[in-house]
Every structure is written in C-alpha cells, then in structure tokens.
C-alpha cells in the first residue's frame, strides 16, 4: 500500500550512475528518487538524453510513474511492470544508441512480451558501446545467463556522429529465470575477430584499419578475421565516420573487446593501433568477462536463482564498484570478492561470488 511504497523508497543524489539506478529500480520494483541532478551546474537538471531514456523506460513498461521536478534536478521513479513488445524510439543526437540499449539488455529478458525494439540515432560513438560491440560481445554475455533463442541485434543502418541517421532493431526473448553462472576459468585467447566499418568515406579506410590492426595482433595467433563492413547509400547515415571494433575470444568463450572511433584528423592506422592496443590491454587485465560488461554480468548474477554464482573478473571498474553498492541497496545482496588465486599475490584478478536473489520473471504471463 502507499505507506509501504514510501518506506522502501531509495534516495540518491547526483547524476552519476543514473542508468544503473533506473535499471535496478525497474528490476527490483523499488521506487527511487534521485535528487540534485547537476544542481550546481550552470545548465542544471536532466540532459536531453537522460530525459529520452526515461521516456523510453516509460514505453517499455506499464504503470511506471516518473515525476520530474520543475527544474529537472530531481526525479522520482515508481516502477511498473516491464511490458516489452514492439517499440520504436528516436534517440537524441547527444548520445549514441548504445546508451539506451545497454540498460535495456538486463531489463528485456524479464518482460511480459518479447522485445522488438527499434532505435534510431547514432550507432557508434566514443562514449558508449557501439552497436557492433553490443551485437558481438554484449549479447554473448547475455547468453551466458540463458537468454539465447531469438536474441538478436540487427543493424539496419549505420549512423555516425554528429548527425546519426542509423537504425537498429533489438529482439530479445523472455526467460523465466536467469541461469546461475559458474565462470571461473578464463582460458586462453583462441581467436580474434573484428569489424571495421566506414560510412560516407572511402571504403579503403576499413582495409587500412584492418592492415594496421593485424600488424599488432598477428604475432599472437593466426586465427584473426577482421571484417570490412561498408554501408552505402541510405544505409550509411548522415555523417561520415569509421571505426574498428575488436574482440578476442578464449577457449572457454570468455570475450574481451575494444573499440576506437574516428575523430577528425586521425588516420585510420592510428585508430586501428589504438583499438588493437586497447584490446591487448583488456586481455592483459584478465578475467572471464570484459571490463565494459562487468555491470551487465553483475546485475544478471544477482538476478539468478538462489544458488551461488561465481565469476572471475579483472579489476573492477569504478562503475562496477558503485553498482555493487547500489545492488546492495536495491536487492540486499552483497558479493563476496576474493582474489582469484591467492597463491600469486600480484595478480589482480578477482573472484566474485554471490547468492542469487531467486528473481523470477513475475511479468511473464501463463495464459
């Protein structure tokens, strides 16, 4: 009843970790209030992309009440149920499609109807995961938890910053409960894949990127395939741009990834070298999941059945650390974090284990 709702209200301040808190609130069903959103800024309040994200959340749920204060510096979110279905959303040009897609990855499997989400906007930028990475890395991470049949991201059109014009379609099935993972063996890198894309520039750019990346990576393994993905005409969006995304897959299907995106005045070779080196950097960090996907894995681990889930990770990113704290607020679950192999003190790999909350998709319909 109303009194209960107010007692379980969680309060946060600041605009940081906005998406994680929204996601956790939607999943746990606890209302959340975020205050002082850029209250000291000269341009206070929610940014357009944050407001757009809230609108998207309203579209994918039923019964969600979002109250935004007059100045936009505080919001109150009373979550409803996740309804899913067929939704179209136009993303603002200030952030890429990835910004909107990332939080939905952990929400989508628990909806009432399978997700069929079309997002329009910028597909690749340097802040959020590009659609290539989401397709090739995030979705396999989601598959670890039993979300597999029909999970798909279709890149209909590409759109680079600043004008965008891209379009992706995200299809996600619903599940009853997330599988508990026990992913502790990182294995060894057995293959490297990559996608080099170039829109509204010379198609040679992607080949040049591939060449340059190979010059760094060829020394390790021969199983390297870097695809050149060129979109033409209408499908290539409104702005020129190119990028290279790389992923390294291990024998136990652990994936690490990196990406770098074109910016004015940087040659494709430099982009490629940057991507390749950050991939090596990522691989050297170790762990079974990619650093950028720690958040996704942590959330899904908490949502698992009431069993112990374990996962080996490299150093935790600050976002993950804050997420761990937020998870405790929303779900009351704490993780056990131990060095993965105590024998070697210099290794920074961690073994995170938690007891799942036994989250069952209550939105699923039986009839």
């Amino acid at each position: 009843m109303p009194s209960q709702a107010s007692s379980s209200l969680l309060r946060y301040t600041g605009h940081e970790h906005f998406r994680n808190r929204i996601v956790l609130s939607i999943l746990s069903g606890k209302p959340v209030r975020i205050d002082k959103i850029r209250s000291d800024d000269k341009d206070p309040g929610l940014r357009d992309y944050e407001a757009s994200l809230l609108r998207l959340i309203e579209k994918v749920t039923n019964g969600t009440i979002i109250e935004i204060s007059y100045t936009g510096t505080s919001i109150l979110l009373k979550p409803g149920i996740i309804s899913g279905g067929s939704i179209t959303h136009d993303c603002p040009l200030s952030r890429s499609v990835g910004y909107f897609l990332e939080p939905l990855l952990s929400i989508a499997p628990f909806s009432k109807k399978p997700f069929n989400l079309t997002l329009r906007g910028i597909t690749t930028d340097d802040k959020d995961l590009s659609v290539d990475l989401i397709r090739t890395v995030s979705l396999p991470h989601l598959q670890l938890f039993g979300v597999s049949d029909g999970l798909e991201l279709k890149i209909k059109r590409r759109g680079s910053a600043p004008l965008g014009g891209g379009e992706v379609q995200f299809l996600c099935p619903i599940i009853k409960q997330a599988k508990t993972i026990n992913f502790v063996s990182a294995g060894k890198i057995k293959r490297i894949r990559g996608i080099a894309h170039a829109v509204r520039v010379s198609p040679q750019f992607s080949n040049r990127m591939i060449e340059a990346a190979r010059s760094v990576l060829n020394r390790y393994i021969p199983d390297i395939y870097l695809y050149s993905d060129v979109y033409r005409g209408d499908d290539s969006g409104k702005s020129p741009g190119f990028a290279l995304s790389l992923l390294a897959e291990s024998t136990t299907s652990a994936i690490h990834c990196s990406e770098s995106v074109s910016s004015p005045g940087i040659s494709p070779e430099d982009i490629a070298l940057q991507a390749a080196r950050s991939l090596l950097n990522e691989v050297s960090r170790g762990g079974c999941v990619d650093r950028k996907h720690q958040n996704l894995v942590l959330i899904m681990m908490v949502l698992g059945s009431e069993d112990v889930g374990r996962c080996r990770m490299g150093e935790l990113s600050p976002r993950s650390i804050q997420l761990l704290r937020d998870i405790r607020d929303f779900f009351g679950t704490s993780f056990k974090i131990a060095p993965s192999d105590p024998a070697t003190p210099d290794s920074s790999e961690l073994l995170l284990s938690c007891y799942g909350t036994g989250y069952i998709n209550a939105n699923r319909t039986l009839a």
Binding site: L280, V283, P318, I321, A362, L366
Partner: protein, 1163 residues
C-alpha cells in the same frame, strides 16, 4: 543298549560356508526357470520395465533445505475439536522424549532421530489457522472422529492444502472404541478409508487409534505412528522452496515498558524466535505475518540451537539409537523444563526449594537432570559480588591497547553525546583496524553506563526474576553462543536528547531505575562475546564463572586475527567504507578515506540519505555516465614495447607457460607449425620465465608441480581417449539434471564455508535450519496484546516482486460444493502466497481470443478468469478463495480455487454496451437516426462504426446531422422500417476496484470474529434498509396490442380508370337461397329404414357415453376427496416438524448466546 536309546543329535544346518550359501538352491541358479518362453513375452516384459522406470521420474526439483542440519519437520495435527489432537501430541512427545506435557501450546520441537527433529503444532478449528498451517506443514496428521465421520472442516482443510501445494497427509481415526459392535466398526473403517482415499490418493496411509489409556493413546500404536513419522520422505514444494519462512515458537515484546505505559496503543517492537525454513533469509527481506500484515525486519540474529541434533559425527556413527541425553525438547510456550516464555515475561518454575550446588558436583549430566529454568536460577547464585562492587572494580580502557584504565568519573565526562536510545556499538571489527576514536568511545561509555554489563548480568537477572516482568536472557549453560551476531545500529551518532544521564541513575540498584535499558540488555550479552575481551578475561577467570563465559578471550583473539591478516579487503572497502568508487578502483586502502566503521554503522539506514556524489563537486568537468572509459593515449603507448607485447603471450593458446591451465596444448602445436618465425623466441622465453622460479623452489615444490602436471596430462588423456559413451551418454536428461543440481548445491555449500559468520550472513543470508531471532519493528500492539499461543505466528519472507501491488489475473473455478455462484464485484477472501486478504474480483471469459469479456457470474463447472487488485504473486501460484471465514452457517466455505496467470498494472476486461436509436426519416437505403447520441461530437467519434437493426440489416454511421442534436445519417444494406430499432454494439473497458483488505485475524481478541467488507445486501439486511426499487425496473405484464390493418379502399374514380384485371372485384353477398338449399328430398322406404336404424344406433351410443362420463366424474370426485385428506395429514405432519426445528434453533441460539462453541457440522 544305552547308545541305542539315546536320541540322535539333531542336524545342525551350516550357518556359514558354501553349504549355507547353497541352501535352497542345491543345484545352483536355474536360468531356465526365469527365461522367457516367447519373444513377444520378452518384448512385453521389457516394455513394462521401461514403463515402470518412467513412473519413477518426477520433474527434478532443487531441495534448498540443507541435508546436514535440516530444520525440524513441521508436523501439524489437524482435526475437529474433541477428536484427540492434544492427546496425540502428548503421546508422541512422550514417545520421543519421555516427557509428559501438561499442556500443548505453540510449537513443540523434539529430536526424533539422529538426523531428524520434529516440530509438532496443533491446529485449532479456525479456518485462518488451518490456512496458515496448511502453508507451512510438512506433514499433516489429519484426525478424524471415527464415531462421527468426516466433518466439513476436514474437507475444507484438504481443499486448502490442495491449493497451496499438497504436503504429506496421514489420516488418523480415533474414537473407534465408541463403536461397540465389531462389524459396524469394520464397516465404518472401510467407509471412512474409502472416502479418505478419494480425497488424498488411493492408498493413502490411515491409522487407527483404539482408545485412551492413562490420558495417552496405546504405546504400541503410537510407536507405529512415530516410526512412520520419523522416516517419512518429503518432496520439496515449489512455493516453500522459493520463500524463506519461519514458524515462531516464541514471541517477545521489546518495546520499552515506559513507552507502553504512557501510550498503550503504540506500535511495538517484537522479536520472534524460530527455525528458518525454505530458502536463505536476508535481513533486507520484507516479511508478511499472516494475520498481522506486511512488516519490516529490523534485525536478524543467529542463536544457538535450543534443540540441537546429536552433535559429534563419531557419535552419530557409533550409536544406533539416540541416547537419552540427546532426546531434547523445546517448547517455550508449553511450560517445559520449568521455563515458560510468554509474550512479555518468562516464568521459571522451581520445584520445591533448591539449594546452591557445589561446582563440579553436577558436571554435564546436570543439564539433563535439571530443567533449563532451574539451571538458570542456579547460575544466578554463582554470584560473588554485588552490583556496586562490580562497578567499583570495573576498569574501562578507552582503546584495546591503552594501558591506563579510565575512571568512571572521567568516562562520564568524556561522553559528550551519550546515547541511551537502545543503540550500542558493534565492535566486531573495531579492535583490529585501529579505527577512529569515536566508536571506541561509545563502547567505553556503554561499559560504564550499563554498569559493566557482563559481570553484572547476574544481578540484573536476579532482579528480573523477582520482578517477573522482564525478559530473561541467560543462555542455557551448555549452550554457549558460538557465533558473532550483527545488530543494526540505528541511532548511532545522533546527539543525545536526554541530558539527565547521571551516574546515580545508571548505577541504581533497583531494577525499575534501569527500566529504560531493558531493551538493550539482550544485545549486550551478545556483543560481549567479542567486545569486552580484556576485561572479562582479566577479571572473570574465577572458577565460578558460568560456562558460557568461559572462552571469550579465545574467541576475541580469533576474531582479531581474522581481521588483521586480511590484505586489501575489497568487500569491506566497497560495502563498508566512504571511499568513492574511483578511489577504490585506484587502489585506496581502508585508512585513506573515511572511517570504515562509521560508514558501516549507518550503512543500513542512513546510507540512503547521504549524498553519494557529494565528494565530487561540480567544479570539475562533468563525468558522463558512459560505458567506455576514456583511453589515455600515452597509457597505450607502453604497448609499443616488444618485451611487454611478449609478456602476455601466455594468455593466448599459442603461448606456453602456465601449463596447468586449461589452455589447449595440443592445438598450440598446430599453430606453431603454421606460424613459423613469428614465434621463434617462444621456447626461450618460456624457459626464461620458468628458470628463476624453478631455481628458487625446493625439491618438494618441483615434485608437486610435476605431480600436478602429470595429473593434468592424465585428465587430458582421459578426456580424449576414454569412451564417451561410458558416462556422458548413459546419463539421460533426468540424471543429467539431477547431477547438475547436486553439483550446484555442492558449490553452494562450499563457497562460503571458510567465511566468518558476519560476512556470510551479509552475502548469503541466514540458512534454513538455523535458529534465529527476528526483530520486527512497528508491529501493531494488538498482535502482542491479543497473543494466543493456540494461533500460529508465521513469518513468511517475500520476494522483491511480491511487495508490490497490481492487478492479478487468475484462472478460477467455483468449488462444486459451494452453494452459491460468485458474482462480479462481490468481495471475496483470497488465500494467495503467504497472504490472506479480501479483494473484489471481476470475472471474465476469453471471447474468441479477441477480448476479455466480463461475466456477471462464474460459470457452472467451468474455469473462468478473474482479475482483482492485490499483491503481486508469481504466476503459477495456487490459491483458494473463501466466501467467509467466520462460523456462520455457510455449509462449505471454500468458494473457489485456482492459479495465478498474469500480473499487470492495467486490465483489459470489457463489457458489452449497446447504444440504441430510432430512424426518423428513411430514404432508399439511407436513414436518419436519432436518440443514439446526444451531440454531434459524440457522433463524429463513432463515424464509420457498424450498426444493425433488430431485424438484422447492417449499416454504417456516416455523418452527424445539424438539426436534432445527436442525429446522424446512416446507410444500410437494405431499406429499414420506421418501426426498427437501430443499435450500435460497443465495448466498455472496466477496471477492478482497487480494494485490498488484509485479513488481520491475529490482531483480534476473538480471532474468529474477523469481518471484512460486507455485501450490500448483508449491510441492508443488518441495518433494516429496504432495497431501493426503481419504478422503471419493475416487471409488468407485457402488453402487445394486436395490429389492426385498415381495409384497402380504392377511390371510385381511380377504380373506374383501372383496367379490368386491376379493378377491385367488389361483390355483394347472395341474398336468395340456392338451388341446393331450395330443393325437397323424397326417400325410398328402404332408405328411410336405414336412416332410422342409424339414428337409433347413434342415440344409443350417445346415451352410453353420457352415462360413462357421469360415472367417471363420480370416481374422480372420490379420489379428490381422498387426496385432500392425505394432503391435510401431510401438512399436519410438516407443521409438527417445523415446530420441532424451530424449537431446536431456538435452543441453539440460546446456547450460543450463553457462550457455547460451534456446533459440529456433519457432511
């Protein structure tokens, strides 16, 4: 001679050896005897075995109850009053523990075997209790009065069980000795068994208890029953396997007395004690107490098991039987062992007078001999000094390492902000980390304040004993609390609002002065385990110290060690420090930033109100919520270094080194061959890596490494060359799943094995099987005031989703035995999940998969949907609905049963709405229609909608007309008549009313008298209001005037102009008789005669008929007369009967008015 007379020695069969083995099978095993005669038979046999094998299979379910220390099995004894429930429990308890109970109140836990404990609970005849018990019982002993037969309550209970997952049921027939005739008894048994089997399942176990001897059932029969109970296996039930729950065996009010005195209706803080069941309970879990409502857990703490299983492993193996020492009983509400716990007091019965015993005299055996309470009082006598002495001798050290103790006076001064509000500091990690002064200060202060709680516990307790009004918290002597417990620190750091804390109050001798502290007392002795290590070990190494205090020092040392030897502990950094995530990620240590302990303390509640991002001010450039981290180009520049590039080679399958990992070595070879010179330095590099390490390591290490390597190689070899069919293929789906579950359970057990209890509770929650104390805040005072041990208190944990409310769609079927149909918008009581609540359902049916169409009433013998507003429950949860909970005359109170299908925030139910209109102008296929709408705006809303006439002509709304408001032009497929009614079929969506009324039966003084929302009719009846009657709604005889058609008149002029064929043919009626009428007939004599004869015969016949008729009428009248007589007789008899019934009803009413109990209802 002698030899012949002596009888020959009888043959002794060999007891061992080959001859003994061959006994019975002299010629060995005869294979032919069991061979199949025909192939077909063999085939059939094989099929049969396969089929039998399939029946064994059930859907694999994870059992979350731990195998090693399972919680006691809840055995509920259910049955109508007077059937012998209490006698049965007494008999069983005596059978298991040799203990004769004087009264049976609340749950009674006994140890029944080496691995099993049982909790007996008696269920009273209230439907609320039956529902609650049906939700938690593992085994139900369903008692049936053999001399009376089944009663409605029994059937109601069975239906409740069916809706909430069927636990095991054993039927018990009693009062069979009342049936004197043996054959009748046998018949009764047979009939009851048949009925029982149809209700439960064919072959369900039914026991017969013959009679009562010495207030107990016969020992042999009880022994048989107890054997069944103690070996019964249980299959996990889905709902209980996903929710934590607890059956409280003890309740205690922690609200300060003073507050209660000032404000008797204030919300209370209570603690409930019991064994956890189901899944792990986390402190953050919301709980529902059926009958009281949703409550918030304030804290959970682990207690020592009051009724533990036989402790040591060796003992378990060695003993076949349970030793007397281990036959424990725990029944806090039922006055066992001289201690009885009430809601706000503990009563200790001490038989006769007792004397103080010498130490060492009793030994361990005393625990068994003495009652618990007696032992407590004995402990109290172990007192050497008075309270004042204790305070005088007490030394307080500010820090664990400080050498000079503080004096009492000083410490008083140092406490600027003294906290007296029931909070106390938790020092579980304080000593180790050398943390801030503030918290230590608190500890010191408390020590002073509470008058050195540890060693003065005894005085206080003695006072309590005298007082009889306080909670006693001396743990049992042999049950030293072994684990560290957490406690939320709620108001730590708040400024003290009472300035009046002065020494003399604190140190007062009288209990009443310390009254406001009693809320804390419990917590102090808990904290004492690791709090007061120095003082206690220093001062209390007396011989007289009770055992529970003995090894405090060692425990404290252990916890200290645990804390210090940790290196950078991320768990603590993340969950218990103020450091920002960035600082932690950058590798900050605990001491760097905030005070770890302080942050931990308010982590529970104050966390939410602390600005998280406050550390980061806005002057820095904005940090975006972005996934990709900004790449520092210079950081990546290091990867230009060849050595660094080579250093991560081992992470790729082509690289060597770290061979113990699962990297695919054989694959690597292939790659090397292909690669060529790119990997020239591979071997050298590996050697270089390996070189120093091997040189450093000793022989042993090398041997170990070699062994490990060999092991890995062997494993690899096995994997590759072993026949995969041997294990993998032999496991079918079922076995595979079971294996997977077993592995996961194993992992669950092992993962947190080495972790200390505190972290474990944080990460994992409290495990089922542990005995815990749950503190609940803001409990309605009625729960405590109206507490009755005969009504079970259950704490049911809720999943995160279940705290919310929404529209619940269920599939529902009215129970066949329920006498009335259910009507939409009539309130109904649901028992769903843990909850019992009243809500207002709307029934609906799926109409051709297009819409959900509202139903006014539930259909007969058919499922339908119902939607109501209520708490979210997971789909696939069963429920039952009740029309009433009270003891009124409803013959069968279970109204419906069903299952949850869907949860939503809106509902899609529609009901039909017909708009009618009439044509006022008709053209060919066009008509102008009025009276359907009121305005042109409404018409525009419905433009294009299909309409229909009563005669079935279809049409469409075209456009609004300007003239009469709401009129419109419509086209039809044919010409409509002015007399036709035109209607538009529309669907109006309706939402169930947002009404949720929890059944708070436990809060009532009389628990059976709960009334929820009443039906309108009920309210009217009770208040004597007549049903308002709309004049337009009254039924009247339908008048249908016959239609009169005017004759067609053609004007003469027109008629004249018409052609002949079209002219109306008007003819006058004939006036003159016709020829046939006019002519005369002259008959022949022959004819005349014939006609005469015919006339005579007809006359005769006529006469005959009339006479017969007369006779019949006569007999009919006689019969009617007789019937009337019978009728009169009958009505006379009926009148008598009615009189009799009314007299009986009157008697009953009178009896009930005088406080009688409910009459039994026979089926």
């Amino acid at each position: 001679m002698d030899e012949r007379e002596r009888p020959q020695k009888p043959h002794r069969a060999a007891k061992e050896g080959t001859s003994a083995k061959n006994k019975g099978h002299d010629k060995g095993f005869n294979e032919k005897a069991f061979a199949f005669k025909s192939g077909r038979r063999a085939d059939r046999q094989a099929r049969r075995t396969v089929e039998k094998d399939q029946t064994r299979l059930h859907v694999p379910l994870v059992n979350r109850t731990p195998d090693d220390e399972p919680p006691p099995v809840i055995v509920a004894v259910v049955g109508p009053p007077g059937v012998g429930k209490t006698t049965l429990i007494k008999s069983l308890v005596r059978r298991f523990t040799k203990h004769t109970l004087s009264e049976v109140k609340g749950p009674i836990t006994v140890v029944s075997g080496k691995k099993r404990r049982l909790t007996f609970i008696e269920c009273n005849n209230d439907l609320n209790s039956m529902i609650d018990i049906g939700k938690i019982a593992d085994l139900v002993l369903l008692m049936i009065d053999g001399s009376f037969g089944f009663e409605m309550e029994t059937f109601e209970f069975i239906n409740v069980l069916q809706a909430h997952g069927f636990p095991k049921v054993i039927g018990i027939l009693t009062h069979l000795d009342l049936i004197k005739k043996f054959s009748t008894q046998r018949e009764t048994k047979k009939a009851l068994k048949k009925r029982f089997w149809t209700e439960i399942y064919q072959g369900a176990k039914l026991f017969y208890l013959s009679g009562v001897l010495n207030g107990r059932y016969p020992d042999t029969e009880i022994q048989n029953l107890s054997r069944f109970v103690s070996v019964m296996k249980f299959r996990p039930l889905v709902f209980r396997n996903s929710h934590p729950y607890l059956l409280a065996d003890r309740i205690q009010d922690l609200t300060p007395r003073e507050q209660v005195r000032n404000e008797p209706k204030c919300d209370r803080t209570i603690t409930l004690y019991g064994y956890l069941r189901g899944t792990n309970l986390k402190e953050s879990t919301k709980v529902h107490v059926p009958g009281a409502g949703d409550l918030v857990i304030k804290s959970v703490s682990l207690l020592a098991d009051p009724c533990p299983l036989p402790a040591s492993e060796s003992e378990k193996k060695r003993m076949r039987k349970l030793s007397e020492k281990n036959k424990l009983i725990h029944a806090p509400m039922s006055d066992v062992g001289g201690v009885m716990y009430d809601k706000d007091a503990v009563y200790i019965n001490v038989p006769g007078s007792f004397t103080r015993r010498q130490d060492g005299e009793g030994g361990d055996d005393d625990d068994v001999v003495q009652g618990e309470g007696e032992q407590m009082v004995m402990d109290l006598q172990d007192l050497k000094s008075t309270l004042a002495d204790g305070i005088a001798n007490k030394e307080i050290r500010l820090l664990g390492s400080s050498s000079a103790p503080l004096t009492v006076g000083k410490s008083r001064h140092s406490l600027g902000g003294a906290d007296d509000s029931g909070s106390e500091s938790e020092s579980d990690e304080g000593e180790g980390e050398g943390s801030a002064l503030g918290s230590e200060d608190d500890e010191g202060e408390e020590d002073g304040e509470e008058g050195s709680d540890e060693d003065d516990q005894m005085e206080e307790d003695e006072d309590e004993d005298k007082d009889g009004d306080e909670e006693m918290n001396v743990p049992g002597p042999s049950r030293g609390r072994s684990s560290v417990r957490r406690h939320a620190r709620s108001t730590r750091g708040l400024p003290a609002d009472t300035a009046g804390i002065s020494g003399d109050i604190e140190y007062a001798d009288s209990d009443s002065d310390l009254g406001d502290l009693d809320g804390m007392r419990q917590d102090f002795d808990r904290d004492g385990v690791d709090l007061d290590d120095e003082e206690n070990s220093g001062e209390e190494d007396d011989d007289e110290a009770p055992r529970w205090k003995s090894d405090l020092a060692t425990k404290a040392l252990e916890s200290f060690k645990q804390n210090t030897k940790r290196r950078r502990d991320l768990v603590k950094l993340i969950y218990a420090s103020d450091l920002t995530p960035e600082q932690i990620a950058a590798g900050a240590e605990l001491g760097d930033g905030g005070d770890a302990k302080g942050a931990h303390g308010d982590g529970d509640e104050d966390d939410f109100f602390r600005p998280k991002g406050a550390v980061k001010t806005s002057l820095a450039e904005e940090v975006l919520d972005q996934t990709k981290e900004d790449v520092a180009v210079d950081a990546l520049a290091k990867w230009e270094d060849e050595a660094l590039l080579d250093s991560i080679r081992h992470l790729f399958i082509t690289g060597s080194g770290g061979g113990d990992e699962d990297g695919a070595q054989p694959d690597g070879e292939g790659y090397e061959d292909e690669e060529g010179d790119g990997f020239e330095d591979l071997e050298a590099d590996a050697d270089a890596d390996a070189g120093p390490s091997t040189s450093q390591s000793t022989e042993e290490a090398r041997a170990a490494a070699l062994a490990a390597k060999k092991e890995a190689l062997k494993r690899k070899f096995d994997e590759q060359y072993d026949d995969p069919d041997e294990e993998g293929a032999k496991m079918d789906f079922y076995d595979e799943k079971k294996d997977e579950m077993a592995r996961q359970l194993q992992l669950n057990r092992e993962e947190f094995d080495g972790v200390d209890a505190e972290t474990r509770a944080l990460v994992e929650g409290y495990r089922p099987g542990s005995y815990v104390r749950i503190e609940l805040a803001d409990v309605p005072c009625e729960l405590v005031d109206n507490f009755d041990p005969a009504y079970p208190i259950i704490v049911g944990g809720l999943l995160p989703a279940e705290e919310r409310f929404g529209f619940v769609q269920v599939r529902i079927k009215r129970h066949r035995w329920h006498s009335r149909t259910l009507k939409t918008n009539d309130p109904l009581i649901f028992s769903l999940g843990w909850r019992r609540f009243q809500s207002i359902p709307i029934y609906s049916l799926d109409d051709h998969s297009i819409r959900m169409r509202m139903l006014k009433y539930t259909p007969e013998h058919m499922h339908c949907f119902a939607t109501f507003y209520g708490p979210v429950t997971l789909p696939n949860t069963g429920f039952c609905a009740l029309s009433t909970l009270g003891l009124d005359l409803a013959p069968f109170r279970i109204a419906a049963t069903g299952v949850v299908l869907d949860i939503d925030r809106t509902s899609v139910i529609v009901k039909k709405l017909k708009l009618t209109g009439v044509p006022y102008k008709i053209y060919k296929n066009t008509a102008f229609v009025k009276e359907m709408f009121n305005s042109a705006l409404e018409v525009t809303k419905f433009e294009g909608a299909t309409i229909r006439t009563v005669s079935g002509i279809r049409g469409q709304i075209k456009k609004a007309l300007s003239k009469p408001d709401g009129a419109f032009r419509a086209t039809f497929e044919d010409k409509v008549l002015m007399s036709d009614i035109i209607f538009l079929r529309a669907w109006y969506s309706i939402q169930p009313r947002k009404f949720y009324n929890p059944v708070t039966s436990l809060l009532l003084a009389n628990k059976t008298e709960w009334t929820g929302m009443r039906l309108t009719g009920q309210v009217r009846r009770e208040q004597g209001i007549k049903t308002p009657l709309d004049v337009n709604s009254t039924y009247k005889a339908v008048e249908r005037p016959s239609r009169r058609f005017n004759p067609l008149r053609v004007p003469r002029k027109l008629s004249a102009a018409l052609p002949y064929a079209s002219k109306p043919k008007l003819m006058k009626p004939q006036k003159k008789p016709t020829y046939l009428q006019k002519r005369a007939v002259v008959m022949e004599p022959e004819e005349k005669r014939a006609i005469t004869i015919m006339q005579q015969m007809k006359a005769l016949r006529k006469d005959q008929v009339s006479r017969r008729k007369e006779k019949k009428a006569e007999s009919k009248a006689a019969r009617l007369k007789k019937l009337a007589k019978d009728e009169e007789k009958k009505s006379e008899k009926k009148k008598d009967e009615k009189k009799d019934i009314m007299r009986k009803i009157g008697q009953k009413a009178k009896f009930e008015a005088e406080g009688g109990s409910r009459k039994r209802r026979k089926t």
